[in-house]
């Protein structure tokens, strides 16, 4: 399913889309595929594959640690494409999140081509703003990859407008000023940011990320956002599990809890 279809379907069901994030190759290539398919089966509508990067400035300690483990175990960019292929072949809607340098090194157009061939529908770029994205915009148009740029509570209306004009699929609203990682409470800045975005573009779906870690918080965010993005809490299921079976079990359980959360009547 495309991103647009996924959001349209959830809207018809009067609920939010659940986006679950997992670094590629964490802890190994095969295990990460297994984890992503488990998340998909347990209720994640979209699997956000994160390409592990040596210098992830937008990520908190959990994703940093998982990325470090994946890199230490030798994951390469071509492995990430292989993982996307496997997970999308299993029926999941897949988007990739990556810092910009690995794409630039791969070759921007070649990457868009291979990403599309692997079955990803979109790309989230945490450190690429539309102002610097001319090459990516051309390549993603040519290969029909949706573009998700980030917005933050500090974004001016002018930047929100410009960013929305360059997004396709959905826009990623960072719920708070900070890095990824579960928080004890949902940011109060998030509903306001979503309202400012909707005032400018009522059509484009808005996904909210940063700080969501359980079903209750997912329900809270689902009440005002089209999509709920969860990363660190899911990764922690694997990171902190005593063994592999327990990790997968926890991952399925949390995915199901979050899926229920995004279905809580608004």
């Amino acid at each position: 399913m495309s991103i647009a279809e996924t959001f349209a379907k959830a809207k018809a069901e009067n609920r939010s889309v659940l986006v679950g994030c997992m670094p590629a190759g964490f802890p190994t290539v095969d295990h990460s595929i297994e984890q992503m398919i488990a998340m998909h089966e347990a209720g994640c509508d979209v699997i956000e594959v994160e390409l592990p990067y040596s210098d992830p400035v937008m990520d908190g300690p959990v994703i940093q640690k998982a990325s470090d483990i994946a890199l230490a175990n030798g994951v390469r960019t071509k492995d990430t494409l292989k993982i996307i292929d496997a997970v999308s072949s299993a029926g999941a809607t897949v988007v990739l999140m990556t810092y910009w340098n690995p794409i630039e090194k791969y070759g921007v157009d070649a990457f868009a081509r291979d990403l599309a061939a692997a079955g990803a529908t979109g790309l989230i770029t945490p450190d690429l703003i539309p102002d610097e994205a001319a090459e990516w915009i051309a390549a993603s148009d040519a290969h029909r990859i949706d573009r998700t740029f980030l917005l933050a509570p500090s974004s001016t209306d002018e930047r929100i407008r410009m960013t929305l004009e360059n997004c396709r699929g959905f826009v990623y609203a960072t719920a708070l000023m900070g890095v990824t990682g579960a928080r004890t409470s949902v940011s109060s800045q998030a509903p306001e940011l979503v309202a400012r975005i909707r005032a400018i573009d009522p059509e484009l779906p808005v996904g909210v990320g940063l700080g969501v870690g359980n079903g209750r918080q997912a329900a809270e965010v689902a009440a005002f956002a089209d999509g709920v993005i969860v990363g660190s809490a899911l990764i922690r299921c694997v990171l902190e599990a005593p063994d592999r079976a327990a990790g997968l079990g926890n991952l399925r359980a949390l995915s199901a809890e979050l899926a229920e959360g995004v279905r809580t009547p608004r």
């Binding site: 992830p56 400035v57 340098n101 703003i129 610097e132 000023m177 890095v179």
Partner: protein, 413 residues
């Protein structure tokens, strides 16, 4: 037919520079840009900055004719003595400028990244002077290697946060400072330590340290009645180099040389020479030359000089390299340490190991320029910092620490 001023309004030096950061930081960078532009035009701000440089930092630094060194190298060597500045390096210029900007923006807190601790100490100094809260991020490896500088920062009232993720060195300290900044941007100015990072930092830092070149150019004209044949500086992130180069860029007859940290030799892969041994990519907010693998993952750098031990370089250097206006070459650890000794023994000056790279480079180009010009060349070398901080490293390198340890206990008994 003068070329347009660089960077452009979006911070690009040709294809280099720009802003590759999370959207959450854009507003702060825009505010910083606006504050900097208004400060630049504000005579009161400029007067305050000049006053601090003159009466607090000890600027302008001397341009010293190093006669004995000149004899050894077969070139007339003029040393720009930034090592004599308060805190012992050119960095004081940048931190004073940025701390004043933080005050102007009403931000009570500054954060900084540091490798060996020099920029951290300078930041803590400026923060103490201007009554700002200061938090310094430093890789855990470096806090262990540079315990004295950690103590210095703490004496000056700063909080030092050891960074335990990634390679636990300068690049990870920079990542952590960026993460702090994303979270605290309303109250905090990021006092970035080199002429790199997202726009406007490369331009702003260049301008704050640009006095080095302006002074050196005027001092040179006054002392020898003409411009030098070449200007030499070491390049890590590249702030001291851009500081001395910038005023000379329009002087076509003045050759500009940047010497990168060649570590064990560029061919060994263990080095920090981003331009001569790296490739173009994006790191820490700007497009530039960097050390990376085939997948665009950053490769750890290696240098005996902690201040040059960084896998990227400021975008203006990338531009000057591509246009050919400046020439960048690697200098190995061994070459730098040999120049370190030479300066100690000929001039009675212990240079920072960073600056020893510039001296070693000057020794190399002296021969070439002599042939090319058919006379003794004049070379201005930026002596960007003093070597007190490096005594332990240099002592270990030359194997002379053991002797000290043997002698000192004997004196007490």
């Amino acid at each position: 037919m003068s070329a347009p001023a660089l960077p452009d309004l979006a911070g690009h030096f040709g294809r280099y520079g720009g802003r590759f950061v999370p959207e959450a930081l854009i507003k702060a960078l825009d505010e910083l840009d606006a504050a900097y532009r208004s400060a630049k035009r504000d005579p009161e701000f400029q007067a305050r900055f000049q006053d601090l440089l003159l009466n607090y930092a000890g600027v302008p630094s001397l341009l010293y004719r190093a006669t004995r060194l000149s004899e050894k190298l077969g070139a007339e060597i003029l040393l720009k003595r930034e090592d004599l500045n308060h805190t012992g390096a050119h960095k004081v210029r940048n931190v004073l400028g940025q701390a004043l900007l933080a005050k102007r923006m009403g931000k009570p807190r500054v954060i900084a990244e540091t490798g060996a601790g020099q920029h951290g100490v300078a930041s803590a100094t400026a923060a103490a002077l201007l009554d700002l809260e200061c938090v310094v991020y430093m890789g855990e490896m470096d806090t262990e290697r540079q315990a004295l500088n950690v103590a210095r920062m703490r004496m000056l009232g700063a909080t030092v946060v050891p960074v335990t993720n990634g390679s636990r060195t300068l690049k990870d300290a920079l990542n952590e400072a960026l993460r702090d900044w994303v979270t605290t941007v309303d109250t905090t100015h990021y006092l970035l330590g080199t002429a790199a990072g997202p726009h406007p930092f490369p331009e702003l830092v260049r301008d704050f340290v640009g006095g080095i070149g302006v002074e050196a150019r005027a001092q040179c004209l006054e002392q020898i009645g003409r411009l030098p044949d070449a200007v030499a500086a070491c390049v890590g992130g590249g702030s001291n180099a851009i500081g001395i180069f910038h005023a000379f860029v329009p002087d076509e007859g003045v050759r500009l040389y940047g010497f990168e940290a060649g570590g064990d030799g560029v061919e060994t892969g263990r080095h920090a020479a981003s331009i001569t041994g790296g490739s173009v990519g994006v790191l820490h907010g700007n497009r530039t030359y960097l050390l990376q693998d085939d997948d665009g993952q950053t490769i750890e750098s290696h240098s005996i000089s902690a201040g040059l031990d960084y896998p990227g370089v400021g975008p203006e250097h990338a531009w000057l390299h591509d246009t050919g206006r400046a020439v960048y070459e690697p200098v190995t650890d061994a070459e730098a340490m040999s120049a370190f000794t030479l300066l100690c023994r000929t001039e009675g000056i212990i240079p920072a190991i960073e600056s020893a790279h510039a001296l070693a480079g000057a020794a190399k180009i002296a021969l070439r320029l002599r042939e090319e010009l058919g006379r003794t060349p004049t070379i201005v070398v930026n002596l960007s910092g003093r070597g007190d901080k490096d005594v332990h490293t240099a002592g270990a390198y030359f194997g002379i620490l053991d002797e000290v340890e043997k002698v000192v206990p004997g004196e007490n008994t």
